[in-house]
Point group: C2
Chain length 326, copies 2
């Protein structure tokens, strides 16, 4: 890694992205607060461009590219949200983009990535290695590979969500005791922690992961990077990175207070609550951190808890099936 | 009517409601703007307490009640969103509430109204008169009847949505050429117009109504209050008032530029777009004004258009059925 991302990097990034990245609202629900016995502040990144926070890191990374780098294009691999983020950022900046996506990614994510003008290359998630495919394309074309999380610039970009959360909370006379973010490779977690603790060193950051994909939580407890036993099987298609990142984990082991694992059913319940009460569309992975709160896996009574609602890109058929459980 | 509501009433109302009513975000989507060729500013009142703008008028009206009035309670009749607004406001202010609701109102709206602690009395929308039932209850108990729109205080309360929209637009360096609001009895339309034109006399306010329930649009063209031919049959359960209000229409005929009618299919398309791109849950009536924009029924090219997304209380079964059309 070329540098260790810092709070001041994130502060500077806000100025670079501010005309393109949406300052998403920090939503608060009186009903949710009453239910949880505290103040729950929801950072609605599902309302971000491309429907997830991933646009932040992608746009920030691409905005730093030189003219010569831009001409040679970018390559990324992603199950969907990073794909859309890179594709949309590339389109805005006039950069050719190739995205390597699993063939079983949600249709809405593949379609949207193509709609942003990117070239999509699919692969079999169980038999092929996406990094190898992306690396080969990058080498052939001289393109920049844009990692989904293992890149200090990407971490800085994702951190702008946490910086906004803290500033918006302060404007609402709230000071979070802790913040929950979902975690796949750990980029949002690292960036959010650096941003939030740069403002208030006492705020605790927790990661929420799907049960069976709680590699970051287990790795934090073990003090070393541990791999998930399976590559697939969670409803949270966005949260199935095989293990903590080589760049993110050395940061996260210092700044993350711990991890909680949520079940698919807890995620579905959170998605239904977001539909029925918050009126927000969340995808499974985007509801994971909120699910941890709603299921009572973190103390909320008399506390102020920030939660990143990280994405809303869910296929309508799956969404309808989940609503059928109401 | 006891007084004619004015811009300054709405300005004052903001101070009275500000600790309880949510200042909902003004959402903007780059994809929507690109599609429509202009700036579309979406006032997300589906994120309001109780899931619709109706909480504004209800809470403001009840907040003005004296201690003696409060002890005798309130009565309201509503297909659902005004019901929830009054029930929630009454609960917050410790006022007993009876709500008269059609037996065929969406289950979510009836359930939520009861959950706020109100007593619900149902009636048959085709054979019984809800005003008579509510009037009888109010007379028996000495309670205050809270009309859904034909009340200057309620109009003032709804107008706070329009005032916020204009102030938020200014903060985003935008000046709406026109604003679209849905219309049933006309309270939101009247309040929004008074608020917006108090800030910018040149902004045009248009109402969106379901086809077959475009009584306000037709009445504006005729110069007199005209009745809808049917009492039911639109997907927009919230927008089926039989005719323009006796209090609202004399205001609206001076402040509303015109009306557009939208089909059920256009409303469904708008709900799907809100799901897939905006990540917002809208109920049919809450999507009517947006449907008019998305269907191209108003000029958007090189214009700045404010749109009130007025509510998000939709039964999950209906929502799933609408998503099935994607």
């Amino acid at each position: 890694m070329s540098f260790v991302p810092s709070f001041s990097d994130i502060e500077s990034a806000v100025d670079i992205i501010k005309d393109v990245v949406i300052e998403t609202p920090l939503v608060e629900s009186a009903e949710l607060n009453a239910r949880m016995g505290g103040r729950i502040l929801l950072k609605a990144e599902n309302l971000q461009r491309t429907g997830s926070f991933k646009f932040r890191g992608a746009y920030y990374r691409l905005a730093l590219m030189t003219a010569a780098e831009r001409a040679a294009g970018v390559v990324a691999c992603s199950s969907g949200n990073h794909a859309q983020g890179v594709a949309a950022a590339a389109a805005i900046l006039g950069i050719p983009a190739v995205i390597v996506m699993p063939a079983d990614a949600p249709r809405i994510k593949i379609d949207n990535t193509r709609a942003y003008g990117a070239e999509v290359v699919t692969f079999d998630r169980l038999t092929e290695n996406r990094e190898e495919i992306a690396g080969r394309i990058a080498a052939e074309r001289g393109s920049l590979f844009v990692p989904p999380y293992d890149d200090p610039h990407v971490i800085v970009g994702q951190g702008t969500a946490g910086l906004e959360l803290m500033r918006q909370a302060a404007a609402q006379n709230a000071s979070p005791d802790s913040i929950l973010v979902c975690c796949s490779g750990g980029g949002l977690a690292a960036g959010t922690a650096l941003a939030a603790q740069g403002i208030d060193p006492d705020v605790s950051i927790y990661v929420a992961e799907p049960q069976g994909f709680d590699d970051t939580g287990r790795s934090l407890r073990a003090g070393e990077r541990l791999r998930n036993p399976a590559l697939g099987g969670s409803i949270c298609d966005a949260l199935m990175a095989p293990m903590p990142g080589a760049v993110t984990f050395p940061i996260n082991r210092h700044v993350i207070a711990g991890g909680v694992a949520v079940s698919d059913d807890e995620v579905r319940t959170a998605m239904r609550y977001a539909f029925g009460t918050l009126k927000l569309v969340l995808e499974p992975g985007g509801a994971a951190a909120f699910a941890a709160v709603l299921a009572g896996r973190v103390e909320t009574r008399d506390r102020t808890i920030g939660v990143v609602l990280s994405g809303g890109n869910v296929d309508p058929g799956l969404y309808a099936a989940i609503l059928a459980g109401m």
